[in-house]
Amino acid sequence: MEPFYDAFDKIAGISGKAGNLRGQIQEGGNPFEGSRSNEYPTGPMRQPYGPTLFAKAAKDLGYKPFPVPSALISEPYTNPLGVTMGPCTFCGFCTNYGCANYSKASAITTILPALIRKSNFTARTNSEVIKINLDSTGKRATGVVFIDSSGEEWEQPADLVIVAAFTFENVRLMLLSGVGTPYDPNTNVGTTGRNYAYQTANGVQLFFDDKNFNPFIGAGAVGMGIDEFNNDNFDHSGLGFFGGGSTRVTPIGAAPISSRPTPPGTPKWGSDWKKETVKNYLSTMSIGCEASSYSTRTNYLSLDPTYTDRLGRPLLRVTFDFSENDRKMAAYVTGKVAEIAKAMGPRQIVQNPSKGHWNTGPYQSSHIVGGFVMGADPTKSSVNKYLQTWDVPNLFVVGASAFPQNPGYNPTGTAAALAFKAADAIRNQYLKNPGPLVQA
């Protein structure tokens, strides 16, 4: 996989400091990182005060803090496609916003400017693929049906169909098109919709009296982190769970109005609330731990029996709750994070481990995975290691829908590396000899 991670890093200009360069552990990077063939394409971001303070405390406790690698560019960068990005300005309008400075990697800032110049490329905007067409055997995709903004339906014939519609829509399209067998939690049979997993969001808030974090300074993923409590990086003996998470201080920019941290017990409105808002806005920070979510037999995706979209097609139904394993893990890692928080000397800390039942209300994470997973066994997976569907060899389904579990890292890098791996397999193997790339 490493060459494909490397290829994606270069397209997106990922900033960071290598922790493991060709097997050699590097000072200042993440020592738990897999071996990299190259440094990150751009240097690590400069760190705001909160992450700096955290890193010092973590280091004093014996941990190995490192700048969080991210797709925010720290310096001017021109990628292998000739597309140029500019350095991040820490404007604080990053998460939930587009980037006017060309600093945040996305298809728009890294690939499309080069792609749209190709004479054999067409993008149909404001259009939605509503179905993958299969031939009478169900073993071959013949194209897709899409609907345009005027509501007109079109058929696009194809020799090869690559679906990359995000986790939920990938799975929904497969269910609507009859690709694979829908997963049944009662019998544990079927693959489409299986192994859906989420992410377990945990955090600790720190209220200080004597600090000014200027929290409006921020960027979507700038920060410092440690990985001592991630996945198998620590001894789980006697803990009664597996998994862990990425411990990070990543100030995204405390947005005007919406960001008003106040300690527990503060009224939700009125003059006391205003007073506490003023007192705490500049002097509050938090440490997050975005942690693993392992799939269970009872968490899965299916077509909704009741609700439909504007075209009358069933919506996707998410059947999910946090498992006992993940709750135990959440409590443990949050406790470890709180130890570091205490060492930083705040007036008060508030621990917020993920607990109780899953709730669609409060925002926790967009990092949803699984439902059309990759594997070696066609009875338990939907795609092979090249993201080629077992049942329909000329159909590839790309995205984090292929993850059978959600480990304690955010999924984008791996989803992109898998896309590069699939593209490589298509170009160098499939096109020369169309058919299954892995014999079931």
Binding site: P76, G86, P113, R117
Partner: protein
């Protein structure tokens, strides 16, 4: 470049009484391919191909101070194009601005430059144009109001503004320099946009390439002036700009972005270098910069605050920009030009840099028309034009208001 200041219309619909005689046509691949390249060098498509339309079928409107002119159909269609034009007639169009039957072309068809093109090159362009798909598309080229629509007036115009004659090499200079001069002064017709015009729209030849305004864009000084011109640019900087649309100083936008996209990105490396060598060895190398407006001036103080809030995130606090992404403002010819039209324009209307194969990013500058008033725009531009080594006259808020009104009307 798309625009021309001159009263103008391209090669246009032929008179139906055009002579029928055909000169023997060299339609070898080599000749046609040579003509194809020369047509790119001359950027014929800028005026004769509507974006997304059939090549050379005409219809591009040129706004001149005198009224609108429309690029002619120059496909070989016999009725609406140039299918009946002989090589001799074509040569006369290029070298004298005179169409078949003796009528005069408006100078938007830059025959004042094309007159320098050699007969051999014209023959190749003629062969190429006759090889493209004929398109039936009748174009009314002359949309000028009275009295400018009377072509007879062009006889007098030509007497005053047009010197006929093929390019003559300067034996004192290198072959490369002469090739550059041939392109810049001839097919490249750089002066059409970059040379100031007199009241009749004719070139002020004593100010060749010193910058001119047209269609509310200022085409900057491209002489060797180190302050207002490109004297500080190296040969490599100039070729990078023409080939990719960007170099470490600047990025092409507006009409120049179209020129790079349609024309110069496709020039051969030898021609790019020749043009750069010629432009580097040009007039005004000893020009002195004026004194900047004092930083304590009220306009400068206000402008500095606006710059920090609105501009510095991209153009960086000292105006150095980000190469190939956000243009450098310090020591930029356009910024130091006497005429601030392009600067006002991009602040009010925003801008999108050109995209080329080598530099495909095509970044956007947003419009600030909604959050900066005329005085704000004038102040921030006055500040930019008089900081980091820049020096240029203050921008008048009235000028901003006038351009704002014109842009609104567009």
């Amino acid at each position: 470049m798309r625009q021309s200041l001159l009263l103008a219309a391209g090669l246009f619909a032929l008179s139906t009484t055009a002579a029928f005689a055909q000169a023997a046509r060299d339609d070898s691949f080599e000749q046609i391919d040579k003509g194809r390249y020369l047509a790119i060098l001359g950027d014929c498509a800028a005026c004769h191909t509507v974006p997304g339309g059939k090549p050379f079928a005409g219809g591009v409107t040129l706004k001149t101070p005198f009224g609108d002119l429309v690029g002619a159909n120059i496909t070989p269609d016999p009725e609406t194009g140039i299918g009946r034009m002989t090589l001799d007639e074509f040569q006369k169009v290029m070298s004298e601005g005179e169409g078949p039957g003796g009528f005069h072309l408006y100078g938007a068809m830059p025959f004042t430059a094309y007159t320098k093109v050699s007969k051999e090159d014209n023959a190749a362009i003629y062969a190429y144009l006759n090889s493209v798909e004929p398109v039936k598309n009748k174009v009314e080229t002359n949309l000028l109001p009275f009295p400018f629509n009377i072509r007879l007036s062009l006889i007098g115009w030509n007497m005053l503004n047009f010197t006929k004659g093929e390019f003559k090499a300067n034996p004192q200079k290198s072959e490369e320099w002469n090739r550059g001069a041939y392109i810049v002064e001839g097919l490249g017709h750089c002066g059409t946009c970059h040379t100031p015009k007199n009241i009749m729209g004719g070139d002020k030849n004593d100010q060749f390439l010193e910058g001119a305004t047209l269609q509310d864009w200022f085409a900057p000084n491209i002489t060797s002036d180190p302050h207002k011109g490109i004297g500080a640019w190296s040969v490599e900087d100039i070729t990078a700009y023409l080939k990719t649309g960007a170099n470490k100083y600047d990025m092409a936008s507006g009409p120049m972005a179209e020129e790079v996209e349609n024309s110069s990105q496709h020039w051969s490396d030898q021609d790019l270098k020749a043009v750069a060598v010629y432009l580097k060895d040009n007039r005004n190398a000893g020009a002195k910069a004026p004194a900047p407006i004092a930083a304590t001036d009220a306009r400068m103080v206000a402008g500095a605050a606006i710059y920090a809030d609105r501009c510095s995130a991209c153009h960086v606090s000292k105006g150095e920009g980000i190469p190939t992404l956000f243009p450098r403002l310090a020591s930029a010819p356009l910024v130091n030009s006497d005429d601030p039209t392009s600067l006002i324009r991009v602040v009010l209307a925003g801008s999108k840099a050109g995209a080329t194969h080598a530099a495909p990013t095509s970044p956007n500058m947003p419009s600030f028309a909604w959050n900066l008033n005329d005085k704000d725009v004038a102040n921030v531009l006055t500040y930019v034009r008089n900081t980091w080594g820049n020096a240029a006259p203050a921008v008048d808020p009235t000028e901003v208001g006038n351009l704002r009104a014109r842009l609104r009307d567009e």
